[in-house]
Every structure is written in structure tokens, then in C-alpha cells.
């Protein structure tokens, strides 16, 4: 996650409290999802960004995980997410993110 977005998330966590936040990703590939999740739960693994050493413990989901997808109204889901659902393999990301959420 780039440093600018890390900084924004840190500010939002200060403003709302990290326990009131949830991150929802839209990644097209599983590559990188684990680092995203680690950054907002345990802190920036590169120890270079604003979230270095900051364990916010914010749960992370992918928009195409069933837990999230099922909350989106059906017409909008079909219009905006159906094509992505066909080309993005969410299962590997679901496994990584579910494991990350279980650790919280």
C-alpha cells in the first residue's frame, strides 16, 4: 500500500477509531492482498510508511467475497460487479483475508 494511503488510513483511524473501520479491497489478483491486510492489521511490513509499527487491527474484506457481495442490492451487483466476478478469482484472496480476520 502506498504511503499516501497509509497516511490517510492512519488519520481516519485517529478520527473514527480503528474499531469502527473496515477496509474493502478491489484487487484483481491475490498477489499483494496479504501485504494490504498485514499493513492495516499489524502495521506496515516494510517499516517505511506511516503505519510502520502501528497495529490498527482493522478487518479487511474483498468486495467480491460472499460476505460483502451478498449485501449489495442485486441490480447494482449485476451492473457493476458481475463482469469482475467472472474474471477475478476471489477464492485465494478470500482464504488469505479470512485467515487475517480470524487473527484479530
Amino acid at each position: 500500500m502506498n504511503f499516501e494511503n497509509q497516511g490517510v488510513i492512519k488519520r481516519l483511524a485517529d478520527q473514527y477509531g480503528p474499531e469502527n473501520l473496515t477496509v474493502v479491497l478491489g484487487n484483481g489478483e491475490a498477489n499483494g492482498v496479504e501485504v494490504f491486510a498485514e499493513t492495516v492489521t499489524e502495521g506496515d511490513p516494510s517499516y517505511a510508511g506511516p503505519l510502520a509499527g502501528v497495529a490498527l487491527k482493522i478487518p479487511v474484506y474483498h468486495i467480491l467475497e460472499e460476505e460483502v457481495l451478498s449485501t449489495v442490492p442485486e441490480p447494482l451487483r449485476q451492473e457493476k460487479l458481475q463482469l469482475s466476478s467472472l474474471v477475478i478469482d476471489v477464492e485465494p484472496m478470500h482464504q488469505v483475508l479470512e485467515a487475517s480476520r480470524e487473527k484479530l
Binding site: I63, L76, L81, S84
Partner: protein, 41 residues
Amino acid sequence: MQKGKKIIAIGERDGVPGPVIAECLESAGYDVVFQVTECFV
């Protein structure tokens, strides 16, 4: 996903962009406080 949480939507250019995530979750009743689309090139 727990209701009542504030959402940070981090989309990806080659996946689902931030504004789409935000639109879908706002329609689902969530409060989206930040949305962005990252680009890994």
C-alpha cells in the same frame, strides 16, 4: 461483514475500482469515508 462500520474502499485499476466499491457499499447502507483506486504498474 459487520453493519455500522465506516468503510475504506481501496480499489485497483485492474480489478474493481474504488468508486465502484464505494457505490455498491453505499447502496448496501454502509458509510464510505474514503475511496481510492491504486495502480500497480
